[in-house]
Symmetry: C2
Subunit: 307 residues, 2 copies
């Protein structure tokens, strides 16, 4: 099954303890699409500017990503600059130039009308909802958000959460939406707002999936996947989007949704996140094989597997 | 096999978002001994004051803990006050009255001379080393330390690390000893200082064990155990010592050390830590059954187990 991602494509400047890069291809939709492309066919809806060259688009098309939803607008592509020098776990934003992204109005090409799996990357919740409501064919919607929307547009976000089947956010975002410091309690509160499942991304500690009672018929026990201890995290940018790409991409590749598929998806999410951070930008995600991915899946499995 | 713990017995005042308690029995050796007592025979060496009443000692003896190494000195027992109101993950120390603990000189009763498993809880590294060197019968030594010693007595600590087979500390302590922000790199540096294995306690995210090449013949791949998401952490005090008690207690109960034993020990550590935080002080650790412990072990196992 193919999966559609709607979100940002950007050019990033990144500084980390491992060095500094400028103008590298980034954006949530880019990381997601590349990570998911190792599992299934991927379609993308995003907006880029005149500085988005054919070689940038080839990064996507080389991986079989359908770019018919990539809109070109006069002006520059979204640009973001961030630094991880003080804290590898949280970017300090140096600048955000929204450029053509400021007026992004996702338009779904008619060729995408049969999409069954949808991922709404971190954009304005009102746009997320509009995309979802436009697509009758969608069976499963994953979504992301961030503190900016949690604080600025809580009502709109609450409406969008009713349309999202699996929400993927981090610890701080869960606590922030629920106003509760206890992660399991906060998880239940978020699930009561709409999603059937909530994936909490713990960064270097892995991720936990919580289920609403009765969701997907998989039971209500949470499940946790570890993250691989990585010697040198070069660039954490896009780790969460790569996680989402592995997670959603694997689910879309399986077609049916059951507990074992969701558990494996959580592991594949961790695997793709762990690859992403090993190089700056999307470099590592551009140069993988499914064999390397499955080998690391086995390492993750062994990491917590009791006889 | 019986295990000996050397460390502090204390009376604690604790404030957390769940409430406030005063003068409750605590101390690293107390938490460790109670947690380990569900797996094996436990011996304790510690010092208490005149305010340590028979009912306090009974908390230990009721669990079969051998208290012949409990020394009574004129004066008051060690007292500690801490608050978790702002941060459940780190205590804010309100006061520390060392009292009789200030001049603690561990004396090993001759009845303990056949001890094969030893745990050196967090005390002055010089005392830790002296205890270890005095005990010829010991086959395996576990140990803990804290930032106070890492910064104040790094040389003495380095000597002690040569005598410890398995060091159990948290993320911040590992980074602090190794002067390295990367956990796997820091782990290798700590292992190069002496221990054959390093258990890094991640709090609510579980724990990872790293092995020195060739150690215990178990391979050099790390292993990770999850922690159970707990709805309400009432009192995090002693969670790390309870973890150590479950971990070392299970190892001592098995006699032989292999990879599967160490992996299960890591899970049992997490189980005992998760019980400890459910009530103030040692209350939960005082009222458990091995059946409850094994049931939670299964929950932990299911939490990360792929078919």
């Amino acid at each position: 099954m193919s999966i559609l991602v709607v979100g940002s494509v950007a050019f990033d400047d990144v500084t980390s303890p491992s060095g500094s890069v400028k103008n590298i291809l980034g954006g949530a939709a880019t990381y997601f699409a590349l990570a998911a492309s190792y599992f299934t066919k991927v379609r993308i809806v995003a907006v880029v500017g005149e500085d988005f060259a054919p070689e940038h688009e080839q990064v996507l098309t080389k991986h079989g990503i359908d770019t018919r939803g990539l809109e070109r607008e006069p002006g520059k592509t979204f640009r973001w600059g961030g630094s991880y020098v003080d804290n590898l776990n949280e970017a300090k934003t140096e600048f955000t130039d929204l450029n053509v992204f400021e007026k992004f109005q996702p338009r779904i090409p008619h060729e995408y009308a049969d999409t069954e799996f949808l991922f709404l990357a971190n954009i304005d919740p009102t746009l997320q909802a509009a995309v979802r409501l436009e697509m009758d064919s969608v069976r499963l919607t994953g979504g992301d958000t961030m503190n900016y929307w949690i604080h600025r547009t809580p009502k709109e976000l609450a409406e969008t959460l009713k349309l999202i089947n699996i929400l993927l956010i981090n610890d701080a975002e869960v606590r922030s939406i629920a106003h509760d410091a206890s992660l399991p309690r906060a998880a239940r509160k978020v699930l009561a707002m709409g999603p059937q499942a909530l994936v909490i991304k713990h960064g270097e500690y892995g991720a936990t999936i919580f289920f609403r009672e009765g969701a997907f018929g998989v039971g209500s026990h949470p499940f946790r996947a570890p993250a691989l201890p990585i010697d040198e995290v070069k660039d954490p940018t896009g780790a969460g989007d790569s996680f989402a790409g592995g997670f959603m991409g694997y689910i879309a590749s399986q077609g049916e949704i059951n507990r074992e598929v969701l558990k494996r998806a959580l592991f594949y999410g961790g695997v793709m996140g762990s690859f992403a951070v090993e190089r700056f930008g999307t470099e590592r995600l551009q140069n993988l094989t499914r064999e390397q991915i499955d080998a690391r899946f086995q390492v993750f499995r062994e990491l917590t597997h009791l006889e």
